[in-house]
Amino acid sequence: MIAIHHLSYGYGKQRILDDIDVTVGAGDFYAVLGANGCGKTTLLRCIGGLLKPQQGTVAVDGKGVEAYSTRELAQRVALVQQHLQTDIEFSAFETVLMGRNPYQRHLQNESQHDWDIVEECMKQTNTWHLRLARPSEMSGGELQRVMIARALAQQTPVLLLDEPTSNLDIAHQFEIMELLRDINTREHKTILMVVHDLNLALQYCPNALLINNHNICYQGPTREGLTPKRILQVFGVHALVVGDHLQLMR
């Protein structure tokens, strides 16, 4: 589904991604793990078409990302960004409705089909009761769920999420992870999500992509990848396996 070859990207002289090769199959659910500033966000933004690879290629569905029109790519890849905007004047409903934009033509009104999808996506993310609220009136978690609903409304085969659980309390973290697992198994969406909580990744994401020193250091089943040795190497933290959980300490 996603094929990345020799991808490099840097800001100024600083190389963030250095000659990366990854292939993600259709319907896979990956946790993207790594320390701050290791290039997780940059990787997602390259796949989402927001950044143009400086070297190498990123292909989605067998075709290079830059070969798609902006509209075509938005029908294939949805991206939930890390930073939430609170200064928008649109209601949650209008915000989610924007997710239907890649399917609409200019000067055309939304169809009943669009309305139905928006309602379904908002109910799925438990945001339907917030439909008239504005971002400034919502909590961080509520806004986060609205953004996920908008990405779902895009009805893309690929879903990229940048730390979707960072603004949420524990109960809502589980809720979102269960929702994503549900979408992955039921709709076979390919999901890549950046997450910092290793235990959350262990519990919900079947596969993991570990980034260290600007390159992929592990790709495969999460349980086998998150060994104490590798965690020490990537995060500089000692880990202890307790049952099916990790106990982390300095």
């Binding site: 989402g48 078409g49 927001l50 509209r71 209008e94 924007m98 309305w115 309602e119």
Partner: protein
């Protein structure tokens, strides 16, 4: 689903008037505007009986083109303001505050000095050229990263306005014989309105307004941020370029017929938003008609309040607009 989602959302809304069908409101506004145009054309220093009106050249050659022109200019300036506010993601922008109007007036002044008035599109063309140049400078100077900060944007606009005013003053000092007509561009007035102006302005208005209406959905997404817009399928750079070109065209040709009139693009879209919300698919079409109406009333006030003198229409729009600008600035200060 038994009931349509749209109905559910609309019925929940605390503001029932936002439910109104866009076409219905547009039709209503068009009727009101047509009535106001007819009414304003009848008002004036010289009073006629009904019978005299149909034969009077004052009515046909002076008032009627003037009324049509104010409506066209008001519509174009208002819509341009709505576009700038969404593209720059800043509620405090309009063609005047950004300095685009002054930029265009410089071109008009240069054209007059060069004697290009005789050419059909000479003044408008030069105004467009300098207007675009001003837009380019603002875009380059005020963009930091991919965002435009309020203070940089406003300061750039103010500085450019100062610079351009200085250049125009210099030009006037050099060519004192043309002073009268140059002052006209900097003050703004509809006193010299003619059918020729209307003929030039109609195609510009139709083309420019169509581009903006066509991209009004994209304006909503741009308001949510360039990156968001891009990941939702908007070709951000292309759309922005076309919108800014269309609006600069409208502003430049407005300025070339009636000079610099400030704050119209600020007052009208904000008043429309107070009633119908931020959705540009409503704000843009409504602003066309409300903008036309606003400037029509301002200009009618300008020419009828203190007969036989005519007040500068720019000072009437500024009397309404400048306090509103301050209120908006105060509100946005509280927000950040």
């Amino acid at each position: 689903m038994s009931k349509s989602t749209l109905d559910i959302v609309n019925n929940d809304s605390q503001r029932p008037w936002r439910r109104a069908n866009t076409w219905l409101v547009v039709a209503l506004l068009a009727v009101v505007l047509a009535g106001a145009m007819a009414g304003c054309a009848c008002l004036g220093v010289v009073r006629f009986s009904w019978a005299e009106m149909w034969t009077s050249p004052i009515f046909w050659q002076l008032r009627l083109p003037r009324v049509v022109l104010t409506v066209l200019v008001g519509a174009m300036l208002s819509v341009s303001g709505a576009v700038y506010q969404s593209v720059f993601r800043n509620p405090l922008t309009d063609p005047y505050v950004l300095g685009i109007s002054s930029g265009a007036s410089l071109g008009a002044a240069i054209a007059i000095l060069l004697g290009l008035e005789a050419l059909l599109l000479g003044v408008g063309g030069m105004a467009l050229l300098t207007g675009l140049l001003t837009m380019l400078i603002i875009f380059k100077v005020a963009t930091i990263g991919n965002r435009m900060h309020t203070s940089t944007l406003l300061l750039t606009g103010v500085c450019l306005t100062f610079l351009i005013t200085a250049i125009i003053s210099l030009l006037m000092a050099l060519r004192q014989d043309k002073m009268e007509s140059i002052i006209f561009w900097t003050m703004g007035s509809f006193a010299s309105a003619s059918w020729l102006d209307v003929i030039i302005l109609v195609p510009v208005a139709l083309a420019g307004l169509f581009v903006v209406v066509y991209y009004s959905k994209d304006l909503n997404l741009l308001l949510a941020g360039s990156e968001t817009a891009k990941s939702l399928g908007v070709e951000v750079e292309k759309v922005k370029r076309r919108l800014l070109l269309a609006t600069t065209l409208m502003v430049a040709f407005s300025v070339s017929t009636c000079g610099v009139i400030g704050f119209v693009g600020l007052v009208v879209p904000h008043c429309v938003r107070l009633v119908c919300g931020a959705n540009n698919r409503k704000v843009v079409p409504y602003s066309i008609f409300v903008g036309g109406l606003f400037l029509l009333l301002c200009d009618t006030a300008a020419r009828t309040l203190l007969p036989p003198n005519e007040l500068p229409v720019g000072s009437i729009t500024a009397l309404v607009g400048a306090p509103m600008f301050i209120v908006l600035l105060y509100k946005s200060k509280r927000k950040y």
